[in-house]
Symmetry: C2
Subunit: 315 residues, 2 copies
Amino acid sequence: MTLTQLSAFILVARLGSVTAAAKALGVSEPAVSQALSALRHQHDDKLVIRSAGGMTLTPGGSRLLPIASQMVALGAEADAAVRAAQGAAEQLRVAVTDVIAEFVANPLVEAFNKRSGESIEASSGVAASKEMPVLVANRLADVALGPQMPADTAHELSSDPIFRCRLVAVGSPRVRHTGRAAGWPWLAGPAATDPGSETRNVLGKLRVPDSAIQVFPNQTAAWAAAAGGAGVAVAVEHLVASQLQRHELVVVPTPVTPMSICWHATTLTRDRRPAGAASLLHFLATPQAMRMMRSPGAGVPATRFRPPVYVTIWS
Amino acid sequence: MTLTQLSAFILVARLGSVTAAAKALGVSEPAVSQALSALRHQHDDKLVIRSAGGMTLTPGGSRLLPIASQMVALGAEADAAVRAAQGAAEQLRVAVTDVIAEFVANPLVEAFNKRSGESIEASSGVAASKEMPVLVANRLADVALGPQMPADTAHELSSDPIFRCRLVAVGSPRVRHTGRAAGWPWLAGPAATDPGSETRNVLGKLRVPDSAIQVFPNQTAAWAAAAGGAGVAVAVEHLVASQLQRHELVVVPTPVTPMSICWHATTLTRDRRPAGAASLLHFLATPQAMRMMRSPGAGVPATRFRPPVYVTIWS
DNA sequence: TAGCCGGATAAGGCATCGGTTATGTACCCT
DNA sequence: AGGGTACATAACCGATGCCTTATCCGGCTA
């Protein structure tokens, strides 16, 4: 499976014709046909089949197309990325958990970039807690912000505390939540799907069944739904401070909350840590960074906004 | 640049040693050394250099590593995806704008999947409005939900209205917004960075400068900040109904709002439309779907939640 | 300074890729 | 049924990929 073969397949799928694809690629028709044949043999699937109105995708082909597309796109991107890096700023990749991504990652990264001038360019990506040690150990991320990492067997990683806060359960002031917490309807952000997250930890300790958890596309939406009376949500206390103050939400006591937690920054051990990572760790200890972690939901200027990227690993 | 070469590079970067990488791959040391050499020549960058404590990445190499990683991972995924598709459900890819993704895409897709039994498996991805025609025309998405698409020159696409609603500006009831709208602080979700979105359209018509726009990671967060008095936000009226009713937000009049808009579903023209797409269009016209688009922010069960995926195109 | 270790390079062999031209075969359309 | 269009296959060939063994070179250490 080579990139040229995939390109041929993509064009056939997009244009609905082998000959058109060949013309687009500037090669003979059998060249494309053969590339297709190679892919078909390897995957043991026709991928595209003749039908009225051009070649159409088989189920297998329609799965392959987006993947192939991305691979080819990445191939082009690879070239550009390396070229752009010649004499460019050091790049710092920060993996963060879902909650941190939603509330503090963007302003934090933005401030760090501004502070370090043109020399470092940090960017953040969302990752599951369980993946973070792997991401950092394998150099796919330089720093991870999230729960404390278990001491690494090979002593390759170090986890430093950066911010202490409390987890609480919150609900609408107009609804009384009584009885066993496991029986309440629970509302959560994507963090609830991360087995290593503190949110998940709380739900687990309360023995809340999956069927009682409604997951929202982001944490703020879950809290808004809780304010509307739809159920109870796990929240980082200081991040809902304004809703608590305005009495849109109230704290609901449970057997395990309030719970003290501490965000940690995980990196390689000091000797093998890149300069940018060390610099970020230093920044995280400044009053400016503390202030940003404490005050939730500051936006970033339109020109600097980056949509969240989900980081993936390959095992 | 082949996948084997990239794999070799990845392992060298991760393990910090050519020989270790060779051992891991089960080949001789010159094999990986040579693969590395090929990449270095192609990109005209050393990528990894000898240094104390193993091979370390150059700036170029550190840009390449995540891309290479993803390519190799996708290579493995491709195989699995096609195999899994043999005799599996038809896959329907729905591209949606940011606002739709945040509020209605998940419940809608979930309900559609349930309704169509095991035969169709729909999934949604976020895309910029401008990219949607390209995504659909190139078979990278089967259906796009968003603003109306301009009539396609080649008459390949058709855009059908599915839901009519109103855009308003909202702010805190405790703050008076007077004077020119362009002077107010504006709070927005990622939609503000999509040049083709209705939100962007409103901000443009009001001549709000970029510097006056704070972008939040999601729309709900922007509204929460507006409720806190930080500024004014563009909102789809029925999606903030509950906040309006609870008087956390009030409508702020502007010269261009309230503005009537209409969400559209864009697909290939009927004759070349896949069966699943036709089925979804039909579903979108049902009262059940209408209800879901009208009532904002329903969560989905934990087991069915999918984090948002940003769809990209390759030109 | 000699020796060693780890990476780079050289040279050679086999397989595959990626292209060509020529030919076969399925399907649509009078 | 016949012709035309479009995809698949065959046969061939040069370039490259990918692996081997052998050798070279640059740093570190005894």
